[in-house]
């Protein structure tokens, strides 16, 4: 009897903890703190954002509610739906161009460089621009393409053009170029991870059987690199889609992206519910894409 009351007095959590097996207690010790942290600082905030997105602002105050008005507004009003489409186009172009630029480098890393030391050096060469400051990389292109930038001064000095061109900067092309530049190293690493796993014996066998380089590429290398190619492209797309730095620094009137709108809504307009709804839509699209990638990977991947 006494033991029972004491246990009750000790409170529920400690009682549970005491009843655990040592293995369970260890498990809880390692996993409970990070899990609790993620619930409080990640899942709860995401849920709050979802909750906010169903309310609205009235004379600068948030009014909770359960209405789909924000979502309807985003999908049916031109600036919002147009910006989503525009972001998707920019994300897609970025994914395609960075995959194209990345492929040859990944192939050289995987097949042409054989000495381990040289391969490590190449790996570092690829990874350094990826880690270099994001802001600095976007800025570097601004100094190159700007009206007083390197490219214009060079062309004027060479008398190829009479006066600096202004069409180089502040448009969709300069944003896509910059995002491609930023994400190409990531795409290289992603494709390389797939290529690296292709056994040399497979390629040698194909060669011995008389296949040429082009045939080996189309029939062995490319199909086996699909997982890396897809993973790289999907993440590049998602990051390009949600970017707001490149459009702010290098974009123009034709590059109104959805993250930029979201951030502006949080600033001057102070419409947090609408901004939250945009956030939820971007997150939803990202999940959809990742799910799609998992599905496509399972269908296309050739098991070795």
């Amino acid at each position: 009897m006494q033991a029972k009351t004491r246990r009750l007095a000790a409170g529920f959590p400690r009682a549970t903890f005491a009843r655990m097996s040592p293995e369970m207690r260890q498990k809880a010790m390692w996993l409970l703190p990070p899990a609790a942290w993620f619930v409080v600082f990640l899942l709860v905030p995401y849920l709050i954002t979802a909750y906010y997105s169903f309310g609205h602002m009235q004379s600068y105050r948030y009014v909770p509610g359960f209405s789909l008005a924000n979502y309807i507004r985003i999908f049916s009003t031109a600036p919002y739906s147009g910006a989503i489409a525009q972001s998707a186009v920019i994300g897609l172009l970025t994914a395609v161009f960075s995959s194209l630029a990345a492929y040859p480098v990944a192939m050289v890393m995987a097949f042409c460089i054989t000495r381990p030391a040289a391969r490590s050096a190449m790996y570092v060469l690829v990874i350094l621009p990826w880690w270099a400051s994001y802001l600095v990389k976007a800025y570097a292109w601004k100094t190159i393409l700007g009206p007083h930038g390197i490219l214009n001064s060079l062309l004027v000095d060479l008398h190829l053009i009479a006066s600096p061109m202004t069409i180089l900067l502040y448009n969709q092309a300069s944003v896509v170029l910059t995002l491609t530049y930023i994400f190409t190293p990531f795409a290289i690493l992603s494709i390389y991870a797939s290529l690296e796993r292709i056994p040399a014996s497979l390629l040698e066998a194909a060669e011995d059987l008389g296949a040429g380089g082009v045939q080996i590429f189309w029939r062995i290398i490319l199909p086996l690199s699909v997982p890396g190619l897809l993973a790289g492209a999907v993440i590049t797309f998602a990051l390009g889609f949600g970017d707001f730095v490149a459009p702010a620094l290098l974009g123009g009137a034709d590059t109104l992206m959805i993250s930029t709108i979201m951030i502006n809504l949080l600033g001057v307009a102070n419409d947090r519910p609408l901004a939250s709804a945009i956030g939820i839509i971007i997150a939803g699209l990202a999940f959809l894409l990742i799910g799609l990638m998992d599905w496509a990977e399972r269908r296309v991947t050739v098991r070795l």
Binding site: P34, L43, A101, T143, Y181, F186, L189, V245, R272, A283
Partner: protein, 264 residues
């Protein structure tokens, strides 16, 4: 691999791409030593003038201090949580394990503005005022995945025999971790700390939405850039690139012994 290995076209294409990756950074580094006041050509002469001005700029120096505080705080939060989660994931099966792994990676996969706005809403609802601390909690949460991934990979290589031997010999759980596991994963832990610090020093999306009155370095550069391109930013950018290059090369070397896997 003669057929592929000797392809000149392949070599040429990748040389062009590598040039594309390095030329802009090179331009910036070179122009940071330009004596003239324009961000573009002509290069009027070598000078350290812009670096002198950078170090004399109190706003930027203050921001560098703030950035270092944020980076230290971010590592202090994300590293212990990442190591704990990595040990837990490496050792135990439990319901929701797959979901847990996905949730941890969310801040890496979702665009940063989503984590940013979510934490901003969270702080507003709880009446927390935005400050350096709110940035630290935001980045600290977002970067747990870095420590988790690095340390988890090392633990998987390590295997469990040493840990089991120590346990059989009567070492308690904490003694086991401090004296057996930690010495073995030290490289990965230090590497993860350096990589997290370098990401933190450069982070924009989450920081942008969680910044109060105190600015970090990327925020100050951002506001400088919105106004005009100044050679001052060339100098700041060069220093940032050098700092990340040092941090990340050291971090990768420590955590993976020089040769990397598919990290990014």
């Amino acid at each position: 691999m003669r057929a592929i290995g000797s392809s000149r076209l392949l070599m040429a294409a990748s040389a062009v791409v590598m040039l594309f990756l390095y030329l802009p950074l090179l331009v910036m580094v070179v122009m940071s030593f330009n004596a003239g006041a324009s961000v573009g050509l002509p290069f009027t002469g070598f000078s350290l003038d812009w670096y002198a001005r950078l170090f004399a700029n109190t706003q930027i120096m203050h921001a560098i201090g703030n950035s270092l505080i944020v980076a230290a705080g971010t590592v202090a939060i994300s590293l212990p949580l990442g190591v704990m989660a990595a040990v837990g994931l490496d050792r135990y099966e439990f319901p929701g394990r797959a979901i847990f792994r996905r949730v941890v990676l969310l801040p890496l996969i979702l665009p940063g503005v989503i984590t940013g706005i979510s934490l901003m809403n969270f702080y507003i609802i709880n009446g927390v005022r935005l400050s350096l601390a709110t940035i630290i909690f935001g980045q600290g949460t977002a970067l747990v995945c870095v420590s988790l991934t690095e340390v988890y990979a090392r633990l998987q290589q390590l295997g469990r025999s040493q840990y089991e031997a120590a346990q059989d010999l009567g070492a308690g759980e904490i003694a086991c971790f401090v004296r057996v596991i930690l010495p073995n994963i030290r490289g990965a832990v230090v590497g993860a700390a350096l990589i997290s610090a370098s990401i933190s020093l450069d982070e924009i999306a989450v920081t942008y939405l969680l910044t109060g009155r105190q600015n970090t370095l990327p925020m100050v550069i951002w506001s400088l850039l919105r106004r005009e391109a100044t050679p001052l930013v060339n100098a700041a950018g060069t220093l940032m690139v050098v700092a990340t290059a040092v941090l990340v090369t050291a971090g990768l070397r420590l955590s993976r012994g020089g040769e990397g896997e598919s990290g990014g």
